[in-house]
Every structure is written in C-alpha cells, then in structure tokens.
C-alpha cells in the first residue's frame, strides 16, 4: 500500500483539540503522524494530496444511527449502496440499527454485519444488538452473547420499550456487561396512529397528531429508571426543548446518560411538510420552530453528545402514499456533514465542536476507537472544502434510497475525498 501525504491542509482533530495548518502522513493504512517538519520530503512513491491551504482534513465521520435495508429490505438499501452513500458524505464508520429482517438478535447476525462492512472495504459497520427478541419489546435478547459478537450497544431501533418494568429490567441486566441501551424517546401509547407533531399545522392538514410531550414523558421515565438502576442510557434523535432540558438536568445530576440528534431536527421544522410532503415525514415527526431552536442551543451548550444522520432508506413506493400511510424516515448519509456545517456557517457552533459531534464524541459514546487523527490509528479520513456550495437533489443522491427531507436545500461544505484504512474510497482518484 502506497503512503499518502496530505500537505497544506487544515488539520482538525477534535479528540485532541488540534486545529492548525499542517501535513499528515499515512503509512501502511495507519496515521503515521501529523508533526512532520515541512523540510522533510514526501516518502518515496507517496500519493501527495495538496489541500491548497483551504481544505480541511479530519477523521472519517462516525455516524451512530443508521438504518440499512440489509438483511431483509435490500430493495431499499444494501450494505454496499449504504457504504457508497456514506463515503460520499465523508463517513467511514456507521452504527446500524437491529430492526432488520431477521432482527439482529443473535450473535451470528452481529458478526455477519461486521463482516459485510469489512467486505465493502469502505466502511466499518458497528452493529447494534436488539434489546429484545425480534425488537418486539417484551423478552430480553442475549445481550451478553451479542456484545461478545461485536454488538456495540442495544436498542429496539425505532420502537421505544413501552413497558416500564421491562425497561427497568433491561437497564439493570445490561449493567452487568456495562452495556449501553439506546432508546427511541417517544411514548408509544401517545404516538400511536400519529404522523405529525400536534399543533396548528397538523390540525389544518387533518393529520393525526403526536404531542411533542410524548418525548419528554418517556425521557423522564427512563432517566428515573437509569438513576434507579445505574444503567447506561442513550437517547437517539432527541428533538424537543423539554426532552433536552430533562437530559441537561440529569447530566448535571450525574445520571449516566447521553443523547444524539439528527440534522432534520436542527435544520428543518414542521412547515416543510407543506402540502403532505411525505419525504418530510420522519419519526419522531418534525417539530415546531421553538423546538428546532432548542436543539440548536443544546448543540451549542454541549447537552447533545453526537449528531447522527438517522439515515432511513425508503423506497419510492413507501413514500408515494397518503401522508399518514407513507413510511416515516429520511436518508441522511450524504448530507450529514454539510447540514451540520450549516450550524457552523450560521455561527451557532465552531468548526471544532461541529466535527467533534461527528467524530470522537459519538465514538466515545459507543466506546469505539474511531474518530481520531492520533498517530497509530487507522487512517480513516475525510477531506472537505467547507465553503463549496451545492444543492441537494432527491433522485441524484449516491446510494439507492433518495428520500431526503432536504430536497432543494442549498448547502455549503463538500467532501472531496474519503479514506478508509489509508485507501481512497471516495473522490477523484478513488481506486
């Protein structure tokens, strides 16, 4: 494998707080170092990537909430098509939800998913194990065996554990393995049948609503259970002011809790549903503007630990339906970085914090070693121009699924190259 030398790049490594112009050398698929003296020439035969002083080189992004169609729903997305979309967005590590068909509730399937990631040569797949068998919310899955097989954390994906007693047992049992439980924060009895956030828009459109408080109600319960049991708890795609306030307070009180949000919840509000636009049908549903602003504030003050794409591929037929019947979810792999950078361009968060939310912070939540430029780490890298503009177009995205809620959104920040273990997997000279 040829060495790669990045020159004249802005090196950003949120894990170590590094942000300066510099060079980075990759040898044998591993980061050899970032402190090469300028005078030292390139190693013989090295590929030289010149950043022209403008381009940012950061760790490959770590996306901690991704749904892929494999196994079972390959018509929506396969591991390979998801990998292609991911590297286009600078992502080199994805944590995938277990609600596939079959569900990832046995160790062999967790191993299979890891191996399928390796086969692509583009991404690492960190499989979530099912928290309950078949993600049905009742019987506990084999948390210990799944963890041994490489399951990174445990969740029922888009379904919350409804029953308080079951959730208490899960948190208690998982503590024996110090395993992380990831919860979809929405009270299922309040969200049942709903497809938009309760309020004026849902009332006008005649769509069954879900009260925004369905999130806070479940978060409040689970925080109390986490406190009772000492279990490790993470909330995915948190989207309301009230939910974030509860998490902020619990963190200050020492509860072992973390959370992530997804780009739609800080970049869009419910009005993009407009006239029944099903590409804007997500779960949890898009919120009122005040909640969007609260998510932005929680990004800035550190309450939110990670930004995950919440990538959810849907087939056109899943979406070409009346709004209440259409599938919920949006793609997000290729837009993850640029929509996050919109927060940087808007002055809400700094570049270092933004990249931290996409790299070492989700890696820390999942206790993965990914997301760093430290010498000796696998050379998973993302090279991007933070200022190049582009427009999201559903139908022209890489990968199979095209159901982006950001259709037509103008964004700044364009990935030029992605490297996995030192091999270029996206960009001009991709092998």
């Amino acid at each position: 494998m040829k060495p790669v030398l990045f020159e004249n790049v802005r090196l950003i490594d949120p894990a170590s707080g590094l942000d300066r112009p510099g060079r980075l050398l990759v040898r044998d698929g591993v980061i050899a170092g970032t402190d090469l003296p300028q005078a030292e020439g390139a190693p013989e035969g090295a590929d030289i990537i010149d950043g022209g002083g403008q381009l940012v080189l950061c760790p490959g992004l770590v996306d901690m909430r991704v749904t892929i169609g494999e196994p079972g729903y390959e018509y929506r997305e396969t591991v390979l098509s998801a990998a292609r979309a991911a590297v286009t967005g600078g992502i080199t590590t994805i944590a995938v939800l277990p609600n596939t068909s079959p569900t990832i509730d046995n160790p062999a399937l967790a191993r299979l998913l890891r191996a399928r990631g390796v086969e692509t040569g583009m991404i690492d797949i960190l499989p979530y194990g099912a928290l309950t068998r078949e993600c049905a919310g009742t019987e506990m899955a084999e948390i210990g065996l799944l963890a041994e097989a490489g399951a990174i954390a445990f969740t029922d994906g888009p379904h919350a554990i409804a029953d308080s007693r079951t959730m208490r047992q899960m948190l208690t049992y998982a503590r024996g393995f110090d395993a992380l439980i990831v919860q979809h924060p929405e009270d299922p009895s309040l969200s049942r049948g709903g497809c938009a956030t309760d309020g004026e828009l849902a009332t006008r459109l005649g769509l069954p609503g879900i009260p925004a408080a369905a999130e806070a109600i479940l978060i409040a319960r689970d925080l109390r259970l986490a406190r009772m049991t000492g279990g490790r708890l993470h909330f995915g795609h948190v989207s309301t002011a009230e939910g974030l306030d509860l998490i902020r307070t619990a963190k200050a009180d020492g509860v072992r809790v973390t959370c992530d949000t997804a780009p739609p919840y800080f970049d869009l509000n419910e009005t993009v549903i407009g006239d029944f636009r099903t590409y804007a049908k997500l779960s949890p549903p898009l919120r009122a503007e005040a909640d969007r602003q609260a998510v932005c504030a929680a990004l800035a003050d550190g309450t939110i630990d990670a930004i995950a794409s919440d990538h959810m591929p849907c087939d056109a037929d899943d979406k070409r339906q009346p709004f209440a019947v259409a599938s919920a979810g949006g793609t997000g792999l290729c837009t993850l970085l640029a929509v996050t950078l919109a927060q940087v361009h808007a002055g809400n968060i700094g570049m270092m914090d933004a990249l931290g939310l996409l790299t070492h912070r989700p890696a820390a939540v999942l206790r993965s070693g990914a997301g760093t430029l430290a010498a000796g780490s696998p050379a998973d890298l993302c090279l991007f121009n933070p200022d190049t503009g582009w427009i999201v177009r559903a139908g022209e995205l890489p990968g199979k699924a095209q159901n982006t809620p950001f259709d037509g959104r103008a964004l700044e920040g364009h990935v030029l190259g992605t490297w996995k273990n030192g091999r270029r997997v996206f960009g001009a000279t991709a092998a």
């Binding site: 828009l201 009332t203 005649g206 769509l207 009005t271 993009v272 070409r320 709004f323 209440a324």
Partner: protein, 321 residues
C-alpha cells in the same frame, strides 16, 4: 415556508385553475362567484331546465374509497344535469392501504381519458396526491379529517340565501371537530367571508390548536350557542362514544346534543344545519331536526347546485371564478 397549508395547484387559488382540493386560503373574491353560479343552478334545478349540453362528451368519475351514498349521488346528479357521462367507482378502502393502489388507480384513470375526477378518501391528502398524477381535474369530495370543500360551499350558500350576507353572523360548529373535515372547511370558508365562528364540543373532540384557525373554543353548549345566528351540528361517529373520547352516547346527548331548550339560547330564528347523515337522539333531537328552523333539506338541495357550479367552472378551466 410561508406557503404553509396552501395548495399549489388548487383551483380558485391559482390560474389556470385545475383542481378543487380545499377551501383553505381561498379568497372571498373567488368564493362569491361560485356561490352566484350555484344560486343560478339552484333556480334551474327547480325549473328542471339545466344546460344538459354543457358537459356533453365529458367523463366524470366518482372515485369513492369510502362509502358515501349522499355525496356520491349529489355529484352524480350534478354531473348528469350538466350532460356529463358519469361513472361511479367504489373501491374498498382496506385494499388501498397496501402497495401502490392509489397511484395505480390514477394511471388507470389517465388511460381512460377522464375529464373530472371526484375523490373521497379516508386519508388526509389523498386527493392532493392523486391530483399530482392524473390529467383530470380533481374535486376533493372529502379526505380524511382534512377538507370537504363542496360541503363548505353548499353550507355557505344555504346561509347566504337566508341572511343575504356573511359579515357579522355568528356561527357555532358543534360536535366532533377533531375528526371533521366538514368543520375544517367550514371554518376556513366562513372566517374568510367575515363570520365569527365558534367551535363547541367536549375537549377530547376539539383540537387544542384549532384556535389558530381564527375560531373561539367553547366546551358547553350553553356557552357556545348563546346569541348565534347559525347552529351547525356535526355527525359523531358511534365508535367514538364507547369510552375512548366520550363515555357513552347518552352522556354525549345529555351535554352536547341539540334540543329545543339549547336551541332557544341562539337567536330567535337561528338556522339549524347538519351535513348528514344525522344520528337522531345522539347529536340532534328529532324535534329540532324537523323544525322550521332546520334547513337540513335545503343543504342537500344546494349541494347539487354547488357541485354543478364547481364542475362547470372546472370544465371551463376555472374561468367562471
């Protein structure tokens, strides 16, 4: 996103006019000509001299994914009195919840060169989805809990025939507002025409955000009916009165049914309206339904006239409005 809730291709909002998907956002300057034309058709209907050559050679399909004998018959008569070839298609709603049936149906109808498509569907937004895919003009005959534009137009026409105008009238819409497309369309239309609109019902059947539509909210009939010019009753589905939204039908009638005693709180000659079909003894007492103040049968008559006006305008590419 200032276009919230508007209908890009809706007739009477944009030109060239193509569809009637809802009345939300419709301007009084577009509403009045429809009512005028409908008034004209109401007279012709009584004299049995409708222009049967107007839609000659045009095909109207009543595409009903939900059963509704009354509305379907009304559209059927409207089409036939204008000379259209009318075909009724009733599709069991259970089969459209799966796969692509709705859009497959659209493709089928395109192949049949349909001119006018009247759609009733249990899902909010289904006619709008269909309108994106068919060449025909789509008339929303009721979608989920979203809109029922021709019902609002016929209600408005009925009111105008009795009061001569809308400004200054107070109208109480009573019952299951949450699940009512009739209520939503009436709220949009009547507030646009300058009426004061009240909604009256138990808190479980009145959405909290409905106030944003420019109405006042009342949870007792005594409070809501006082001094109103029109009492518009809504049908309450019996399955909602089994302990989920309302404990029982008899409790509902006791507190939210319209009887003579409650009607006496309204202005002396207040109109009583109901979109039908009525649940006598549940939301409305028979003596009120059959009283002189009830215009329920006139609503049905105006329904045909309004639908003729809408079909006429759409067939002429919206030039009538």
């Amino acid at each position: 996103m200032s276009e919230r809730g508007s209908h890009g291709s809706n007739v009477f909002l944009t030109r060239p006019a193509r569809h009637l998907l809802g009345v939300q956002g419709m301007h009084p300057g577009r509403i009045t000509p429809i009512l005028d034309l409908a008034e004209h058709y109401a007279l012709l209907n009584r004299s049995r001299k409708t222009p049967r050559d107007l839609l000659r050679g045009r095909t109207l399909i009543n595409l009903f994914f939900e059963d509704s004998t009354r509305t379907r018959t009304s559209f059927e008569l409207a089409g036939k009195r204008l000379g259209a070839d009318v075909v009724n298609m009733t599709v069991a709603s259970s089969s459209v919840n799966k796969g692509e049936t709705l859009l497959d149906t659209a493709a089928t109808l395109n192949a049949m060169h349909t001119d006018l498509l009247v759609v009733r569907h249990s899902q909010s937004g289904a006619p709008a989805l269909l309108a994106q895919k068919v060449q025909a003009s789509v008339v929303n005959a009721g979608d989920g809990t979203h809109e029922h534009p021709t019902q609002a137009l016929l209600d408005a026409l009925t009111i105008r025939r009795h009061f001569g105008m809308f400004e200054g009238l107070t109208i109480a819409i009573c019952g299951d507002v949450s699940h009512s497309r009739v209520a939503r369309s009436n709220i949009h239309l009547l507030t646009a025409m300058g009426c004061q609109v009240r909604v009256v019902g138990p808190p479980t059947l009145v959405p909290g955000a409905i106030g944003a539509l420019g109405v006042s909210i009342h949870h007792t009939m005594e409070d809501g009916l006082r001094g109103v010019d029109v009492v518009m009753m809504l049908r309450v589905q019996r399955e909602r009165m089994k302990g989920t939204q309302v404990p029982s039908a008899r409790e509902y009638f006791r507190f939210y049914g319209l009887d003579n005693r409650r009607l006496a709180l309204a202005k002396p000659h207040a109109l009583v309206m109901h979109p039908g079909p009525m649940n006598r003894g549940v939301e409305i007492d028979s003596r009120v339904a059959d009283s002189d103040q009830s215009v329920i049968r006139e609503q049905v008559e105006m329904g045909v006239a309004v639908r003729m006006a809408v079909l006429d305008i759409l067939a002429r590419g919206g030039d009538g409005a």
